[in-house]
């Protein structure tokens, strides 16, 4: 397999035609804060060929004439045109001026690479400012909830931030924060994601046509980059909301050389509700909060070297404490109990950018990631002062977690304007602790019930090339080779990737892609809520990797006024998926997880339509997905295909942001989706009577199939208005938003209940959020 990979790399490299070229390279940044502009377009006005900046704002462009006319552009920035004659390779750093509100309406050419020109398909870049302009649940802007509004991406249940991309599960999303994989991305049981929008620079979603540089997950890549910190001036921004407040500070440590960014967020429901809870709970102390901190240091060593250190730390904590004592007939009874639930991530990365030459750029990353979950219950009862003293103590402690130690090297090699080669290597040492239970009592100690820690190695190598065959035909062809060592078992797969674009005319193109993917981790979940009890587990000698192939075909067109539209069809086939067996429960903590799951297949196919307006007073998009997603397991549903729980036949999302004036911004979101599929019995009937095999007289609850029943369709309208005012010290914003504006009772879960009045059983639907207004005060200085 490795030999095949090396031969393929040689063939890929050999396709490059070498010629005498002049190379212009450098970075594109914002003149306002020195922040790099990711995905900015660099276009040669003579040959009409171009390139885009990479994740570090670096570009390299080769041409065969000395007369040079280059245009640099990026959404929200004034384009820059540079004309000069050059005789040798040149370094050219560009700083683009941000547009003001008025310019933005007029200037239409200020955009990133148009949708129809890129060879890649199935990827969407959502500007952070657009994310921040949208209505938010309880005033908290959530990056992942915005991604749920894109075609091909479905949300799970009400309020949760899980992503189901083209029929995949949340574990099949590779969520990268500054290049480091993040496992649990939820706060507050999934209602908020852990990404603080104030600290982010760029968010990109890839749902098909995966370039070879990405691997390790089947369904999507969500590549999130933190801001680097303002190199020019000290600035801050923040917000005070109903449930949480946040503050971000950034600025230069050494101007134009070293910058920092630190951003923090904390909920304070626990403080606000403390008197109320204490009153209702007889003095008990209970509450819940989450916090997160993002920090980044960025140092430009010289023109060729740059170092970044980024850190994320966050925890969710739920607690309940009670301490009671009373005296009866001279005996003192004491009853102490403490319950705790906590989970959190620590993500740290040290990155070094090095420009080896004007054609070769390198990035080296060392990272450490930790995710921990703990649930404990401690009880201490005592009786003192009577005839016989008594004490009873019990601690039940359940922990799970993952630690990753990773090293990665990525290179961009741009030999000429027709080829853009990326290649790299990575290795991750995983330590999985998939659920360990310890019980300690006064008389007994029970430890390590459940699975033991599992160590494993995951490695990958890739090479890809963006090849411009002609002005109209462009390919991205690549290979991703990855492997996993666990339990003396070595899994490895070569995953070819191909995507292409053929320009039909100057404004429209046809794109296609075929990718294969492999994934070496699984997520054990049975609630779909993104609960912290979900367990990340590696492949083992019994449970193998997940694999998939996906083919897609689409038509893309750019119109005037910053309007783009596309239609994409896809088919995805997955195998090696795991699912809890019939009757399995995550309360079965005494069992090895491998004994609770089934391994099977999945398939998803659909059509996605997307219209987006990026420029002007009014921006937003309309997305529609028509799709079908199914699963098949030998011992579930009698080996017949059944709908995936989040199979959504129709999914519509409409988002609009409108600048009424420079002081008032309006926004709205409307979503509609076919109801989720759940398992619900339709019929009951008499069973046999076989007490000798444990079957007493009774009845059978008959399910037509797994996930046989559709809950009510989901739809919701969110509205928001922001009042912006310039002040002496900066800008302040009042944001008022209404979640679920027309108070739709959307299903959260359904159950069988009993109608006391009628004396009959009934089906009950529980809803979580009715109309939910919120207000947030924002500031920026």
């Amino acid at each position: 397999m490795l030999r095949l990979f090396l031969i393929s790399c040689f063939i890929l490299s050999a396709s490059i035609s070498y010629s005498q070229n002049i190379t212009i390279s450098g970075t594109v940044k914002s003149s306002e804060n020195g922040e790099v502009l990711i995905g900015a377009t660099v276009q040669d006005n003579i040959s009409r060929r171009g390139t885009v900046t990479n994740q570090f704002g670096y570009y390299s462009f080769s041409k065969d004439t000395s007369i040079t006319s280059l245009s640099f552009s990026y959404v929200g920035f004034q384009p820059e045109k540079v004309e000069f004659n050059i005789l040798k390779d040149t370094v050219l750093h560009i700083q683009l001026e941000p547009l003001n509100e008025l310019d933005e309406v007029i200037v239409e050419s200020s955009r990133s690479e148009p949708i129809h020109e890129s060879a890649q398909m199935g990827n969407i870049n959502v500007p952070i400012r657009q994310i921040k302009s949208m209505p938010a649940l309880m005033g908290e802007v959530d990056v992942l909830k915005v991604l749920q509004l894109l075609p091909g991406v479905q949300s799970g249940v009400e309020g949760a931030s899980g992503l189901y991309v083209r029929g995949g599960s949340p574990d099949q999303n590779l969520i990268l924060l500054d290049g480091v994989p993040v496992y649990n991305v939820s706060h507050l049981f999934g209602f908020f994601s852990l990404f603080n929008a104030d600290a982010l620079n760029n968010v990109e979603l890839v749902k098909g046509g995966f370039p070879a540089r990405y691997g390790g997950r089947l369904s999507s890549v969500i590549d999130i980059n933190m801001k680097e910190g303002n190199m020019k001036e000290f600035h801050g921004e923040g917000g005070i909301g109903l449930v949480a407040s946040r503050l971000t500070l950034e600025g230069p440590i050494i101007k134009d050389r070293t910058s920092f960014l630190i951003s923090g967020r904390r909920t304070y429901i626990d403080y606000l509700a403390k008197p109320l809870i204490s009153n209702y709970s007889d003095g008990d102390n209970l509450g819940y909060y989450f916090y997160d901190v993002n920090a980044k240091l960025n140092h430009i060593v010289n023109d060729k070297n740059r170092i970044f250190f980024s850190l994320y730390a966050g925890d969710d904590v739920g607690y309940s404490k009670s301490d009671r004592s009373h005296v009866i007939n001279g005996e003192t009874f004491t009853d102490k109990s403490e319950f705790g639930l906590s989970w959190g991530n620590l993500i740290s990365a040290l990155r070094w950018n090095h420009v080896f030459s004007n054609k070769l750029f390198g990035n080296f990353t060392a990272s450490y990631t930790k995710y921990n979950f703990r649930l404990f219950n401690e009880n201490d009862h005592s009786r003192v002062g009577g005839e016989e003293d008594f004490e009873d103590y019990y601690l039940a402690d359940y922990r799970s977690g993952i630690r990753d130690y990773a090293l990665k090297a990525d290179f961009d090699y741009i030999p000429n304007s027709n080829n853009y080669i990326r290649f790299g290597l990575s290795n991750i040492f995983h330590q999985f602790s998939p659920g360990v239970f310890a019980g300690i009592s006064k008389t007994d100690t029970l430890q390590n019930l459940g699975a033991n820690q599992m160590d494993s190695q995951e490695y990958a190598a890739y090479i890809e090339n963006d090849i411009a065959v002609t002005n109209t035909l462009k390919f991205n062809v690549g290979l991703h080779y990855s492997g996993f060592l666990v339990d003396n078992q070595h899994y490895n797969y070569l995953q070819p990737r191909l995507s292409g674009r053929y320009m039909l005319d100057e404004k429209s193109s046809i794109k296609f892609s075929f990718v294969t993917m492999a994934q070496y981790v699984h997520l054990l979940t049975n609630a779909g809520l993104g609960l912290p009890t979900d367990l990340w587990v590696p492949v083992t000698s019994n449970i193998g990797p997940q694999r998939s192939w996906q083919g897609s075909l689409g038509y893309f067109k750019s119109l005037t006024h910053g309007l783009e539209w596309s239609v994409e069809g896809y088919y995805k086939d997955m195998n090696g998926l795991i699912e809890y067996q019939d009757g399995a429960s995550f309360l079965h903590i005494n069992k090895n997880w491998e004994d609770l799951v089934e391994v099977g297949r999945g398939r998803s196919y659909g059509l996605e339509m997307f219209v987006q307006k990026k420029l002007g007073k009014t921006t937003g998009w309309l997305g529609y997905t028509l799709s079908k997603t199914e699963r098949k397991f030998e011992n579930i549903n009698f080996n017949r295909w059944f709908p995936f729980r989040y199979d959504r036949t129709h999914d519509v999302s409409l988002t609009v942001s409108h600048k009424l004036s420079s002081k008032i911004h309006l926004s709205g979101t409307w979503v509609y989706g076919t109801g989720n599929a759940i398992s619900f019995p339709s019929t009951i009937y008499q069973s046999t009577n076989n007490p000798e095999v444990g079957i007493a007289p009774g009845h059978v609850e008959h399910y037509e199939s797994r996930n046989n029943f559709r809950v009510r369709d989901y739809h919701r309208l969110d509205l928001g208005v922001s009042f912006v005012k310039d002040t002496r010290w900066g800008v302040r914003t009042w944001n008022v938003s209404v979640y679920n504006a027309y108070n739709r009772m959307n299903p959260f879960f359904v159950d069988i209940g009993f109608n006391q009045q009628a004396g009959t059983k009934m089906m009950e639907q529980y809803s979580l959020f009715p109309i939910l207004p919120s207000v947030m005060y924002g500031f920026k200085f």
């Binding site: 309880m138 109903l242 449930v243 606000l272 049975n526 609630a527 809890y580 019939d582 009757g583 399995a584 429960s585 995550f586 309360l587 549903n637 009698f638 398992s679 619900f680 019995p681 339709s682 019929t683 009951i684 009937y685 008499q686 069973s687 046999t688 076989n690 000798e692 095999v693 444990g694 079957i695 009774g698 059978v700 609850e701 008959h702 399910y703 199939s705 797994r706 009772m745 959260f748 359904v750 069988i752 209940g753 109608n755 009959t760 059983k761 009934m762 089906m763 009950e764 639907q765 529980y766 809803s767 979580l768 959020f769 009715p770 109309i771 939910l772 207004p773 919120s774 207000v775 005060y777």
Partner: protein
């Protein structure tokens, strides 16, 4: 500012509560429910009732106006007649003493009732498998009470095709006692526990019989180790029954037992109970058994 935040918090508290309301479930037409286990060499008994909507009360009555027909190997047809209870004359089941269920034969059961879809099912009766040997050893597990347990080793030759078995142990013993003229009889179906955890499903714990498949010994000599408690210090006639059961019945028992076992766990995955009745619900199973009788004195 303070007023706004206070107002907003009150609003949040008011609106963030769970709410529920009643939902309509689509109607589900009733169907015939047919439950039968065709046992080679034993009279046929078919239980017929009607299904109900999941929201109805689980109170089932036997259907007394059904036409029940059993067809053997697609040739011979028998019509079964209604059997009523001796005490209250309530309908119980449909049966016939004229039919002899034959191992290896295929039986089709057709049940019809005016106004309901005709239900049908087909099953092939497995061949019985001879027990080669049974080894019993009784040992004391608690010296203070002299409580004993008996270990069984059951041996038989498993035929090549996929097979399923139900194992049961029954004992009978007599003891002369001073206060009775006739001997006191001790007899019981023994609660069995398999030594191999593969056969000892937690949802079947408490059942007397073991239900196993032949995945671990397909086509080879099978040796099944299990244990049970016999009456101690008494000469017993112990009957070990090895019943070859149809796959349909095996799947039905396992899935139904699992559904019952998890019925109170809200976090468990739903369990679909296997059924093989076309246009109806229930199970048509079949079995054929061989017995092995030995005398055992429960003393170590």
């Amino acid at each position: 500012m303070k007023k706004i935040i206070t107002f907003a918090i009150i609003l949040l508290c008011l609106f963030s509560c769970q709410r529920f309301f009643e939902m309509e479930l689509p109607d589900k037409e009733p169907r015939l429910v047919v439950n039968a286990d065709l046992r080679a060499g034993e009279p046929v008994e078919v239980f017929v009732s009607q299904s109900k909507h999941v929201m109805e009360v689980a109170d089932f009555q036997a259907v007394d106006d059904a036409k029940v027909e059993l067809i053997e190997d697609g040739v011979r047809s028998y019509e079964l007649s209604l059997i009523r209870g001796e005490e209250n004359n309530d309908p119980i089941s449909y049966g016939s003493d004229n039919i002899e269920i034959k191992p290896g034969s295929e039986y089709q059961l057709i049940v019809s009732k005016p106004g309901l879809p005709t239900a049908s099912a087909t099953v092939r009766v497995p061949f019985p498998v001879e027990i080669d040997n049974v080894n019993l050893t009784t040992r004391i597990i608690d010296p203070s009470t002299r409580a004993t347990i008996t270990d069984f080793i059951l041996e038989f030759e498993d035929p090549l095709e996929e097979n399923f078995y139900e194992i049961s142990v029954y004992y009978r013993g007599e003891m002369d006692v001073s206060w009775r003229d006739d001997p006191m009889v001790f007899e019981e179906l023994v609660e069995l526990e398999a030594k191999n955890p593969v056969y000892q499903k937690e949802y079947l714990i408490g059942s007397t019989n073991l239900i196993i498949d032949d995945v671990l010994f397909n086509g080879r000599k099978a040796q099944i180790d299990f244990s049970g408690v016999l009456m101690p210090e008494l000469e017993l006639e112990v009957t070990i029954t090895l019943r070859s059961i149809s796959k349909e019945y095996y799947d039905y028992v396992h899935t139904l037992a699992l559904q019952r076992f998890n019925s109170q766990d809200p976090f468990s995955q739903p369990v679909q109970v296997y059924d093989n009745i076309v246009d109806g619900y229930g199970i048509l199973g079949a079995s054929a058994s061989k017995k092995y009788v030995l005398t055992h004195f429960g003393e170590t």
